[in-house]
Amino acid sequence: MNFWKALLAIDRRWIFLFVFLALAVPMFLNVDFDLSISREVQGLYDALDKLQPNSKILMSFDYDPPSAPELQPMADAIMKYCLKKKLRIIIMGLWPQGPIQANMALNRAFLEEDINRDDYVYGVHYVNLGYQAGNEFVIQRMGSAFYEMFKRDYTGNRYEELPLMRGIKNFNDIDFSINFSAGYPGTVEWVQIAVDRFHVRLGAGNTAVQAPQVYPYYNSGQVVGLAGGMRGAAELEGVFARFDGGTVDYKDKGTKYMLSQTIAHAVVMFFIVVGNIAYFVIGRKDKLKASK
């Protein structure tokens, strides 16, 4: 048994251990780096930046805890930015767990010194409408009236009791909308219905798996900005920190995870390379033996 053969026959548990360590160790490191910002993330920032204070922004949280590692950092960063900028935030979810994730993002944002919880009144500055079953039909019916789909908000207040919602009939009264999506229903449905039929301006945060399906919509302008996967989250944090830095600490888990992510990719690539070298070395030796 030579070295390469032994390497190929290695117990896969060693690989597992290797992966675990490669991801866990960078967690202990605190690094700060300047990412280059891609056009699609810049587009998302620009769209948010153009909004006047008190503009109404609709955020749809269409993911659940398993996808949170990718999407939560994006949600956190955008939530911080919107609160700091005094945009009025309307939260909803097409996935049952979405509104809970939204509350997490709100709480995370309120930890910032610059964003004082007392300055923001529920129902006036932000509202959580909760989850509504029905997938894309929810978006469709929101097109004629939000009220039909959300007669009560997350905590049971009636729609008409919420000062923020009283002035809002349908998508026409929304200045911008953001969707955090991990699959179906998600960005694709928002584009097909809210954008194509009701002309909503939409930005999106996607998991890496879903992002490739959304890129075509970005290229055709149906989505004004797009953040995909961990890299998207890190860029988003970076772009906020760069243009809107100040005292709010935007660089959070997205940036922090990015190092782990880089190492993880390096590990996978390393495995592919080692596996292939071993494969070729053994292959050649076997060929040599055969020819002798």
């Binding site: 009144v121 006036v124 009791e161 000062p163 009283r166 349908n170 002309h199 301006r201």
Partner: protein, 518 residues
């Protein structure tokens, strides 16, 4: 003439400069009367209302050309939004329907019925409301409900609170609804309406708020609930400014009357109808041909030749076969394709007397798979070997199912595992575990994102359409082979359309791609 204008221009420049410097419109500058006098917004033109085609009524399409003031020097102009009003023919007042953001040219009114005839009007709204302060006595701190009521002829009580009746009138409302103490309320007003902290007194408030930003704007067509709990919070501060007049809101002509209609055929979908009809024709045609007995050639599909061999190996070793028909319900055509293949595999296991286990994640799939396996065993002449619990349910949950299958694999060590159907992320969990126990794995799915993992971890993989072809290939039934041939003709037609389309499109003869727009 020039002398008159010159100071105004200078003044304007002085007023505008800080706005450019600070990067946003300054809120503290006083009311811009020069601007007011000079400015008259132009309405949107060519306003048209049409019945939205291809629906079951209940919707009208509104189109217009942008107001010339909407697009200044290619940038965002002076129009903040368009407000659309609607009235039933014979009525006097327009009801507010919708607003559309600046730069938009199209809106839908989906809240009409099929009976009435409607008239519409659209108005361009300036980017910022400009208000004249009203008299101090109406800028009021409401500490008693009664007082509020007495003061305001346009405010009435309702069971839900106070309604400001604004229909047809030009009032707008400023206010802070979140304050509970007068001081706090005062503070919010200052924050919202006055950027200059040095200003004192009611006059100052009035002046500054006149030039300030709206907390909540609404159109004159609008009834408005102010606060349902006014009575319990006696210190609400409400201020109401009077809109300066119609001069700034540029209304278009009234259009209509118009009525919605129902259509019997969705014209934009006729192309789909044609394509579907042509495809169906070829598929059915070749199925017929195959039934008559015409020989149809089918190329080898790599994974499928291995099916028999894999089942055979399990037989030799006296071990089990797992068949996993995906994790989606019967509402997925891939699952149906998967269980169809299960039928052929079950027939083989019945003939070779091999143990088959089908753990499923959906109850409907369980029911269907049982029917299929039972039939296969009957056809193979071994109904006694069929046991209902060969097909059993675990859990609907994607990962719960994957966890259970993982456990089953390492404990029962099947020799052959089939994955045929719709898979999501669990594909790799299953395939890797299967690989670690050394099973022969044959996979087939039409989920593009999962294919690489099956390709990597399984011995054979059916890619996309091959999954659907598999049942035909395995059974060699003429009707199924015929439909494969039909599919191929469909593909050929699409390829020709593609090639012709690219050429036509390139030379710009006509918009070929629009034939495929839905």
């Amino acid at each position: 003439m020039l002398r008159k204008i010159f100071p105004i221009i200078i003044l304007l420049c002085i007023l505008i400069t800080p706005a450019f410097l600070s990067g946003q419109v300054s809120q503290s500058s006083g009311i811009n009367t020069e601007f007011l006098e000079r400015f008259e917004l132009k309405p949107p033109t060519d306003f048209e209302v049409k019945d939205t085609p291809n629906d079951n009524g209940g919707s009208l399409t509104l189109q217009w050309r942008l107001s010339p003031d909407d697009n200044l020097w290619g940038k965002r102009g002076l129009v903040e939004k368009y407000v659309i009003g609607r009235r039933i023919v014979g009525e006097e007042e327009f009801q507010f329907v919708a607003t559309a953001t600046s730069q938009s040219r199209l809106a839908f009114d989906n809240a009409v019925n099929n009976k009435d005839r409607y008239e519409y009007q659209i108005a361009a709204y300036p980017f910022k409301y400009i208000f004249r302060p009203i008299q101090w006595n109406s800028l009021m701190a409401v500490n008693q409900m009664e007082r509020f009521k007495a003061l305001s002829p346009w405010a009435t009580m309702s069971p839900h609170g106070v309604v400001l009746s604004m229909l047809g009138q030009n009032y707008s409302y400023y206010g802070s609804l979140d304050g509970f103490e007068s001081e706090l309320a005062q503070k919010s007003v200052w924050e919202n309406f006055s950027a200059d902290d040095g200003m004192q007194g009611p006059e100052a408030i009035a002046t500054s708020f006149a030039a300030s930003q709206l907390v909540s704007s609404f159109s004159p067509y609008f009834g408005f609930f102010v606060q349902s709990s006014l009575t319990s919070n006696p210190y609400q501060l409400l201020t109401i400014g009077q809109y300066l007049g119609d001069g700034l809101m540029a209304r278009s002509d009234v259009v209509g009357p118009i009525k919605t209609g129902k259509s019997w055929l969705h014209m934009r979908r006729v192309n789909v109808l044609v394509i579907a009809a042509v495809l169906s024709f070829f598929i059915l045609h070749f199925i017929r041909q195959a039934r008559i007995g015409k020989e149809l050639f089918i190329r080898k599909i790599a994974g499928l030749d291995a099916v028999e061999e894999a089942v055979g190996r399990a037989t030799e070793m006296g071990k089990q076969i797992f068949f996993i028909p995906g994790t989606q319900d019967m509402q997925n055509i891939q699952t149906i394709a998967g269980v169809t293949i299960l039928g052929r595999v079950a027939r083989l296991t019945a003939e070779m007397d091999t143990k088959l286990e089908v753990p499923v994640s959906r109850s409907l799939v369980m029911v269907t798979a049982r029917e299929i396996v039972q039939e296969a065993y009957m056809n193979a002449g071994r109904p006694e070997a069929f046991n209902e619990d060969m097909v059993h349910y675990l859990t609907d949950d994607q990962f719960g199912y994957a966890a259970a299958i993982d456990g089953k694999m390492v404990r029962q060590r099947p020799v052959t595992i089939f994955y045929m159907g719709a898979f999501y992320a669990e594909s790799l969990i299953l395939a890797e575990t299967g690989n670690s126990i050394g099973a022969i794995q044959i996979a087939g799915t039409a989920m593009p994102a999962q294919l690489p993992f099956f390709v990597a971890a399984c011995d054979y993989t059916l890619i996309g359409e091959e999954l659907f072809a598999a049942s035909a290939y395995l059974s060699k039934e003429p009707k199924l082979l015929g439909s494969l041939k039909g599919q191929d003709i469909g593909k050929a037609l699409l390829l020709i359309a593609l090639a012709v389309g690219v050429v036509v499109q390139t030379f710009g003869w006509f918009d070929f791609a629009s034939l495929f727009k839905v």
